[in-house]
C-alpha cells in the first residue's frame, strides 16, 4: 500500500506498469483520486458529476480481472474523467448547460465506449464552458472552474475541467474537445499536455457538437506518453461517424523517447507577433532547447492566418446555431448571455459567407503543407498570454483590469489548426514570473501524430519536470 500523494504522482504509463505487475491496485488508486476530488472540488469546480460508486465498482472489477491474468492494456484500471459533452449511458450529460441539466443518454459516445472497453475507470463528468462555446470555463450554471496554479485565473476552455483536473491530480487522464483550441488552451493555461489529433482520426459519435466540421475529441494528460497511450485507445474508424477516417492507427507510444536530431521545425511567423514578453521569452527558450537536442529550427509562413477570426468564427457560429436552433427558439433564457449571442449571430450570418469560409480552409491547409515541405513539423506558442483573470462569461481580464481580446490573445494561435484539421499538441515550456504555466504547440502533417509525439516527448524530457501548483 502506497501513500495517497505517491499514488497521485504516477502518470498513466507508470500506473499501468504497476497494475500489470500487481504492485498497485486500481481500487487504492481510485480511492486516492476520489479523496482528492472530495478535498479540492469545492475550490476548483472541475466536475459536474462525480461517479464515485461506479468508479469503485469498475476499479474492483479491474482489480479482479488483472489478478486473474486478464490485463486488458495500459488503460485497465486507470481513473479518468470525461468532458461533460461526452454522452454516457445512464449518466447525466449536461454539456455544461441548464438546458440539458437532467439529460441522461441511453448510449455511450464512441470515445467512452473504447476507453471503457480498455478497462478505464470513470471518475465523473468534467466541467466546461457552456456547450463548449467559449474559452474561459466561467460557467454560470455549474460553477466557475478555476486554475490550479492560481485560483483567480481561468483554467481556459472550453475543456477547463479536463485541464484543471489533470494538474490538481483529480484524474489520471481526461478527454477534452477542441473546436477552436478547447483542448490546447486549458492544457496551456493549466500546465499539462493537450493533443488535438487530425480531424477524423477520433470518432465524434455521441459527443455533443459545437461545430461538426471543426470539432475534435482528444486527450488531456500529464505527459506526452500518456497522451499517446490514450489516443491509441480512442483512435480509428467508427461506422457511427461518417467523417471518421479509415487511416491505419500506428503505435503512438513507440516513438516517445526517440531523438529528434536532424528533424526540421518551422516556426510559424504569423504566430510569433503580439506575444507577451514572458510567452515570447519562454517560447524562445523552448526553441533553444529543441536546437540543443539536435532539431533544426527555421521560419515558415502561413499568411492566410491573418483571416482566421472570420473563417473560424463564421463556421463555428453558423454550425452551432443550426444545432441549437430549436432550443434557441423555445428556451433562449436558459443560455448564458455570451453563448446565446454567439448563437444568435450564427443565425444571422449569410449562407454565402459560410461557404466562402469553408472554401478558405483549403487555402490555409495548402499554405501549411507548403511550409511542411521544408519541415517535419511546425511550432508556435499556444497562446499569447498566460492564464488571464476570471471575469464574466466568455470574458477575461489582464491583471491590470483591461479586457482580454480573446481572439487576438488566444484563438488566433489555436484555431488555424482546427480549420486545417492538422494534429496539434500543446505542452508546457515553463512558468511565468507569477508562477503561471506557459506553453507551445507542435503541429504536424495530417495523420502524422507520431511525428508530433516524437518531437514533443523529446522536448519534454529535455525540459524536465514542471513545478507543481503551490496553492494545492
Amino acid at each position: 500500500m502506497s501513500n495517497p500523494a505517491e499514488l497521485l504522482s504516477f502518470d498513466v504509463a507508470t500506473l499501468a506498469e504497476n497494475f500489470r505487475r500487481k504492485m498497485l491496485s486500481p481500487v487504492e488508486v481510485t480511492d486516492a483520486y476520489l479523496a482528492q476530488i472530495e478535498r479540492l472540488e469545492p475550490k476548483l469546480r472541475c466536475y459536474i458529476t462525480v461517479t464515485a460508486d461506479l468508479a469503485r465498482a469498475s476499479a474492483k472489477q479491474a482489480e479482479t480481472e488483472i489478478a486473474s491474468g486478464n490485463w486488458r492494456g495500459p488503460f485497465h484500471g486507470i481513473p479518468v474523467g470525461l468532458k461533460d459533452l461526452c454522452s454516457t449511458k445512464g449518466i447525466r450529460t449536461t454539456g455544461g448547460s441548464k438546458i440539458l441539466a437532467d439529460s441522461v443518454p441511453d448510449f455511450d459516445c464512441t470515445v467512452w465506449a473504447r476507453l471503457a472497453e480498455a478497462g478505464a475507470v470513470l471518475l465523473g463528468k468534467l466541467n466546461l464552458h457552456e456547450f463548449a462555446a467559449g474559452a474561459t470555463n466561467t460557467n454560470q450554471h455549474w460553477g466557475v472552474c478555476r486554475n490550479p496554479y492560481n485560483t483567480d485565473r481561468i483554467p481556459g476552455g472550453s475543456s477547463g475541467g479536463s485541464g484543471a483536473a489533470i494538474v490538481s491530480r483529480m484524474a489520471a487522464a481526461t478527454i477534452g474537445t477542441d473546436t477552436g483550441g478547447s483542448i490546447r488552451i486549458p492544457a496551456a493555461f493549466c500546465g499539462c499536455v493537450g493533443m488535438k489529433q487530425t480531424y477524423s482520426r477520433v470518432s465524434r459519435y455521441g459527443v455533443l457538437p459545437l461545430s461538426d466540421s471543426l470539432d475534435h475529441a482528444g486527450p488531456i494528460t500529464r505527459s506526452v506518453r500518456d497522451a499517446a497511450l490514450m489516443l491509441q485507445v480512442i483512435a480509428g474508424h467508427d461506422p457511427n461517424d461518417a467523417t471518421s477516417s479509415h487511416e491505419p492507427v500506428p503505435d503512438y507510444a513507440s516513438v516517445c523517447g526517440r531523438e529528434v536530431k536532424g528533424m526540421r521545425l518551422g516556426v510559424v511567423r504569423e504566430l510569433t507577433v503580439g506575444l507577451s514578453s514572458e510567452v515570447a521569452s519562454s517560447f524562445n527558450g523552448a526553441l533553444a532547447k529543441l536546437s540543443e537536442i539536435g532539431a533544426e529550427v527555421t521560419e515558415v509562413s502561413i499568411p492566410v492566418i491573418e483571416h482566421i477570426a472570420g473563417i473560424s468564427s463564421t463556421i463555428t457560429f453558423v454550425e452551432a446555431a443550426e444545432y441549437h436552433q430549436s432550443w434557441l427558439r423555445t428556451r433562449p433564457g436558459d443560455y448564458g448571455i455570451d453563448v446565446r449571442r454567439a448563437l444568435e449571430a450564427g443565425m444571422l450570418t449569410p449562407g454565402p459567407l459560410y461557404v466562402r469560409a469553408q472554401r478558405a480552409r483549403s487555402v490555409m491547409l495548402a499554405q501549411a503543407l507548403t511550409a511542411l515541405e521544408r519541415c517535419d513539423a511546425l511550432v508556435a506558442p499556444t497562446t499569447a498570454i498566460p492564464a488571464p483573470v476570471i471575469d464574466v462569461g466568455a470574458r477575461a481580464k489582464l491583471p491590470t483590469g483591461e479586457a482580454v481580446d480573446m481572439v487576438a490573445a488566444i484563438l488566433r494561435f489555436t484555431a488555424p489548426f482546427n480549420v486545417t484539421g492538422q494534429p496539434a499538441l500543446a505542452l508546457p515550456t515553463g512558468l511565468s514570473a507569477d508562477g503561471l504555466p506557459l506553453s507551445m504547440q507542435i503541429i504536424g502533417r495530417p495523420f502524422d501524430e507520431s511525428g508530433v509525439f516524437q518531437i514533443a516527448s523529446a522536448y519534454e524530457a529535455a525540459r524536465g519536470p514542471l513545478p507543481e501548483p503551490k496553492a494545492l
Binding site: 466540421s213 461506422p239 457511427n240 461518417a242 467523417t243 492566410v304 483571416h307 477570426a309 472570420g310 473563417i311 468564427s313 463564421t314 457560429f317 436552433q325 434557441l328 427558439r329 433562449p332 448571455i337 446565446r340 449571442r341 454567439a342 444568435e344 449571430a345 443565425m347 444571422l348 450570418t349 449569410p350 459567407l353 461557404v355 466562402r356 469560409a357 469553408q358 472554401r359 478558405a360 480552409r361 483549403s362 487555402v363
Partner: protein
C-alpha cells in the same frame, strides 16, 4: 465594417426565424455579424474561385448508409 443596424437584425431574426431579439442582444449581434461579414469580405483577396468547399460526397453516402442501417 458592414453596416448592419440593431433594427435590421431584429427584423431579420423575427421574419426569418420568428425569433425576438432583445434590444441589448440586437446591438451585440449586429456588431458580431457586422465584424464577421467584414472579415469574410476580405477573403475576396484569396484565390477561392474553383475551389470545392469541403462537403465530401463520401460523407453523404456514409450517412445515407447509416440512416438505412438504423431502419433494419
Amino acid at each position: 465594417m458592414a453596416r448592419l443596424t440593431p433594427e435590421t437584425v431584429k427584423v431579420l431574426a423575427h421574419q426569418l426565424y420568428d425569433y425576438d431579439l432583445s434590444d441589448d442582444s440586437a446591438v451585440s449581434v449586429a456588431h458580431i455579424v457586422g465584424a464577421m461579414t467584414h472579415y469574410l469580405r476580405r477573403l475576396d483577396a484569396l484565390p477561392l474561385g474553383g475551389l470545392q468547399p469541403p462537403f465530401g460526397y463520401a460523407t453523404i453516402v456514409a450517412e445515407a448508409q447509416r440512416i438505412n442501417r438504423g431502419k433494419k
